[in-house]
């Protein structure tokens, strides 16, 4: 279906408005269902402090499906579990 067909069905003349609404609708569709799922990969780095283990979510993300880590023993990506709360800092090992 073309943008023009949508405009005719709505009886509107503003092409830019129709395109904006269509994009909004697709956003809502992607938020509620899994019409088109994509994946991205990042390098994992050895962390030595509380900033090294932080990775930014993709900027264009609408809905997160899952996160997996590469198991280097068999080169397979395996889904990992989400923690509902951040680990509580009870003790920090400062010994050499």
């Amino acid at each position: 279906m073309t943008v023009l067909e949508v405009m005719e069905r709505l009886n509107i003349k503003e092409e830019t408005l129709a395109i904006a609404w269509i994009k909004d609708a697709i956003h809502l569709i992607q938020s509620n269902t899994k019409e088109k799922v994509e994946s991205t990969k990042r390098d994992l780095i050895k962390s030595v402090n509380s900033t090294d283990n932080v990775y930014i979510l993709p900027a264009d993300l609408v809905s997160l499906e899952n996160i997996s880590i590469k198991d280097t023993s068999d080169s397979k990506y395996k889904k990992i579990k989400r923690m509902t709360s951040q680990p509580h800092y009870l003790a920090e090992d400062t010994s050499p």
Binding site: N32, E38, R42, D43, I45, D60, L61, Q86
Partner: protein
């Protein structure tokens, strides 16, 4: 080396960030010292303690390629077989182009400007755009020309599939197609009608069309998961 990652690795979402943690102990025998070690109740956690190339994989939905050059239902061209080969710089229609030789004289459904996805090859899997359809002068086989520098030479033998995929329109206009199937296109129209009703201050109509929108989303999902349920009537049931 990482192992049992599904049991020993965890993530926590903090706003736009993913925080990764690893369970200390278990299969891990590395010595934990100095910074980055802390405890969480009975389970001691630590920060990831190794480099892994492409180690983090995030699966998600996004608004990608919302508009395409042709209707989604018409992007059905497909070729598959063990007679497909790849040639580096042997194109004849325009010298130097790389080609996919279909190994057959049969007419192909592909046309110029189609976007294709190659799978099953040793080193040429990927997405490409067909520049022209040509014919090998020596064999008479159909060939798909793509831009030079795309392929590594690969002989016939492997089972290769070539599937047409939609071509994105980056600057949409009235003639652009929505990159959705027919049912979801109808859902989009309901959404637009809802927005139009809202603009006109007709909130009851807006609610109605939004309900229709979600109803079509549900229909689209259930169309992929058709389940037939039958209820046998009992021997004393009123018929």
């Amino acid at each position: 080396m990482s192992f049992f990652v599904d049991k020993e690795w965890f993530y926590y979402l903090r706003g736009r960030e993913i925080l990764l943690y690893k369970l200390r102990g278990g299969s891990s025998t590395s010595r934990i010292s100095q910074s980055g070690v802390f405890q969480s109740y009975d389970n001691e956690m630590m920060y990831p303690d190794e480099d892994i190339a492409d180690g983090l994989r995030i699966e998600y939905t996004r608004v990608s390629e919302p508009f395409v050059a042709e209707e989604l239902e018409t992007t059905t061209s497909y070729e598959s077989g063990i007679i497909i080969s790849f040639e580096d710089g042997t194109g004849t229609s325009v010298g130097g182009r790389d080609v996919i030789d279909l190994g057959s004289t049969a007419t192909t459904e592909f046309v110029a400007d189609d976007k294709i996805r190659v799978r099953g090859s040793t080193s040429n899997d990927g997405d490409y755009t067909i520049l022209a359809i040509s014919v090998d002068v020596s064999t008479g086989y159909r060939q798909l020309d793509v831009v030079a520098g795309s392929f590594t030479t690969e002989a016939v033998g492997g089972r290769i599939s070539i599937t047409q995929i939609p071509v994105e329109v980056e600057s949409p206009s009235a003639t652009s197609h929505i990159n959705l199937n027919k049912m979801l296109n109808l859902a989009v129209i309901d959404y637009c009608k809802a927005m139009l009703a809202e603009q006109n201050g007709e909130i009851d109509k807006k609610e109605y069309f939004m309900k229709e929108f979600y109803s079509k989303l549900g229909d689209n999902e259930s169309n992929k998961r058709n389940i037939s349920v039958s209820f046998p009537s009992g021997p004393f049931a009123v018929r």
